[in-house]
């Protein structure tokens, strides 16, 4: 039975599922990485994902155009991010708690809108899998890597893009400086507030995109609490990734692949109670961090309000 796990179709299945499931986590976690690197802890990701998922779904449902849905999802997410930035930067509110508030608001609001505008679970034709010509014909690799919908490719493309922004642009430098030592950045005339507004809004936009990747690409439905806590896992994955896009990529893939693996464990009848199988991704993510040897550069000002000392 355990040997069955190493059958080709199982491994291909696990990898393909892992890549697909990683998509929403990647968007949301990389967005959160930007925010945290600049010093803002946003625990409201899940609420932003839900609002994005709803908005994207609603627009796609009514226009039939997933691109438009995607755009609106990103805008709605960005708006939520902007609100979070206003709360945590301008109003200097405690970040953890305001994030929980944003989460609750998004959870309730997306559901309320869903009930009032859709009323019942509907389906849409969102982004369909896009077989990349030639590449998708490669045996095994083709299925695993090149037969997904466009938002999956987008998520993986986001990793090098985020890496580039963080390491090769002036914006990236400002983000890291503001997160590590906001007073130093401020003393050089860098606007701490502006940088944090930018990252948190970007984080919101990516959370909205993450939600849309569920509602109009992977699942093509919307339902109350569609994300079911994925946003919190996304926050956890930022810590897993040690605030680097590549780390987040590793974490997302690990978590998702183990989730895919546990589904196979059940199907192959490996005698583990299903509840323990479901636990596997959570346990393994923790174990992976225990055994990983790594240097962690937590943004020193994470979740701390910046004030010039004048109050």
């Amino acid at each position: 039975m355990i040997a069955d796990l190493f059958a080709a179709n199982v491994i291909i299945g696990i990898l393909t599922s892992g890549i697909r499931l990683a998509t929403p986590y990647l968007y949301a976690s990389i967005g959160e990485t930007f925010g945290q690197l600049s010093g803002v802890l946003n625990l409201g990701v899940d609420g932003m994902m839900l609002m994005g998922a709803y908005a994207g779904f609603y627009v796609t449902f009514h226009t039939g155009n997933p691109w438009l849905g995607l755009l609106v999802a990103i805008l709605v997410g960005a708006l939520m991010g902007l609100a979070m930035a206003f709360i945590s930067v301008t109003l200097k509110a405690e970040q953890g708690i305001s994030g929980i508030g944003v989460y609750l608001f998004g959870l309730g609001m997306s559901d309320l809108l869903f009930q009032k505008t859709l009323g019942t679970v509907e389906t849409v034709s969102g982004f369909a899998p896009l077989n990349i010509p030639l590449l998708s014909d490669i045996p095994v690799l083709g299925t695993v890597f090149f037969s997904h919908n466009i938002l999956v490719y987008g998520a993986f493309l986001l990793v090098p893009v985020a890496w580039f922004i963080l390491n090769k642009t002036t914006l990236g430098l400002k983000i890291k400086a503001v997160g590590q030592n906001p007073a130093a950045a401020d003393a050089l005339g860098v606007s701490v507030a502006r940088v944090r507004y930018a990252t948190v809004t970007l984080g919101g936009a990516l959370a909205g995109l993450a939600g849309a990747s569920l509602s109009i690409a992977l699942l093509n439905v919307f339902q109350q609490n569609l994300t079911s806590g994925m946003g919190f896992i996304a926050v956890a994955l930022v810590y897993f990734g040690g605030w680097t896009p590549t780390g987040v990529l590793l974490g997302s893939l690990l978590f998702s692949s183990v989730n895919a693996l546990q589904l196979w464990v059940q199907i192959l009848g490996i005698p583990i109670p299903s509840d323990f199988a479901v636990m596997m991704p959570y346990v393994l993510t923790i174990l992976a961090l225990i055994f990983a040897v790594r240097k962690v550069n937590q943004p020193a000002s994470l979740s701390k309000v910046f004030e010039r000392g004048e109050g």
Partner: protein
């Protein structure tokens, strides 16, 4: 010349700011209610009635506040110790499970023995759940936010496992209905009721625990060390305090109190354990709301007492409102979020006010001494 009368700073304004903020959120909520075709005045009257309208509703409010206070008191310890515990949900669940196991095992024990054992086991289970995160942080540098989020899910699956077999109500299996719940606990495991409402002894226990946490943090050497570690690990280490141990201890205590809260909840309210597959079904998000209550209470366990009460009132009242004006419950969740956002955002005005008052007092003092100063 007649001395000008100076207006004294109004010192009730500060404490009233969070209430004004909550009010603003409710005003926004009123517009949402209007859009949904409900009468906001009727709705809010129902909310207040639901939270405070009768003995029963007051009891419901207090009962609702109880787990918030257990979690909140624990959060005070964790955050003061510089560690973040987002694992209240899981800790409530394992605490309840441990109490459940005891209640189902020692069915013949009298109440005076059974209840303390159940509570103790709940406390210990929560402690273990918190300590795992603490241990991994202290000795493997694994971030506790990640661990506690993951441990929540692990607790849920553990609960699902236990309730779908090992401790499922035998009657359920016999009937073939397989509802994921345990048998009702023996009556000896019921927490005594205080008055003929749902108010149970756990409420008092929560208040006592909050006071004990205050004693712990500000009156004992242990609490002093936890606070020192939270404020400056480097200074604490130099002063001979074992930073890792105390960070772990803070998470352990925090988890233990949440676990105790879970045990109280199951013995005082549910009298049996059941699952709807999620933690929320049992905790009603007390693991998160407790964090909010603690922070509203300025991370002070005594401040957490009224904060939990008000939060409980809002949750209970909102349900009544949903029943009376028949708006979707989703509105309540959204409104809850708005209140949290508005209240936490209003802190800035409270701080500014406090500062302005301090400066005002200073200027007054300066003016009083100015003539003498200028003559020299």
């Amino acid at each position: 010349m007649e001395p000008k009368k100076r207006i004294r700073p109004i010192n009730w304004l500060g404490p009233s700011i969070p209430f004004l903020a909550a009010l603003a959120a409710f005003v926004l909520g009123a517009f949402m209610l209007l859009l949904l075709g409900a009468n906001p005045i009727e709705a809010y009257a129902a909310l207040i009635d639901g939270a405070f309208g009768s003995m029963n509703s007051i009891a419901d409010t207090v009962v609702k506040a109880t787990p918030l206070l257990f979690v909140g008191a624990g959060i005070c310890v964790a955050f003061r110790g510089g560690v973040i515990n987002i694992g209240g949900e899981g800790q409530l669940v394992v605490g309840a499970l441990a109490a459940t196991l005891a209640a189902l095992t020692f069915t013949t024990w009298p109440a005076w023995a059974l209840i303390p054992v159940c509570l103790l086991l709940g406390f210990l289970a929560g402690a273990v759940w918190g300590a795992i995160a603490g241990f991994l942080k202290a000795y493997y540098n694994v971030n506790e936010i990640l661990t506690t989020i993951m441990m929540n899910q692990i607790a849920v699956q553990l609960m699902n496992y236990l309730l779908s077999g090992p401790i499922m109500d035998p009657v359920q299996i016999e009937n073939g209905s397989f509802i994921p719940q345990t048998a009702r606990f023996p009556a000896a495991a019921d927490l005594p009721r205080l008055v003929p409402t749902r108010l149970h002894l756990g409420v008092l226990l929560a208040v006592v625990v909050a006071i004990l946490v205050w004693v712990l943090l500000w009156r004992t050497t242990l609490g002093y060390r936890i606070r020192a570690v939270g404020l400056s690990p480097a200074a604490a280490r130099r002063a001979g305090i074992r930073v890792e141990q105390y960070a772990m201890l803070a998470l352990l205590i925090s988890g233990a109190l949440a676990g105790l809260g879970g045990a109280v909840q199951v013995l005082g309210v549910n009298h049996r354990m059941f699952t709807d597959g999620s933690a929320t079904g049992f905790t009603s998000s007390a693991g998160f709301n407790g964090i909010v209550a603690a922070l509203f209470g300025q991370l002070h366990p005594l401040g957490a007492i009224p904060a939990s009460g008000l939060f409980g009132a809002m949750l209970v009242g909102a349900n009544k409102m949903q029943r009376v004006v028949q708006v979707p419950s989703a509105l309540i969740t959204a409104l809850n979020g708005l209140v949290v956002i508005f209240v936490v955002s209003s802190e800035i005005w409270r701080r500014q006010l406090a500062r302005r008052q301090e400066m005002g007092a200073m200027r007054e003092a300066a003016l009083a001494t100015a003539p003498a100063g200028e003559m020299t």
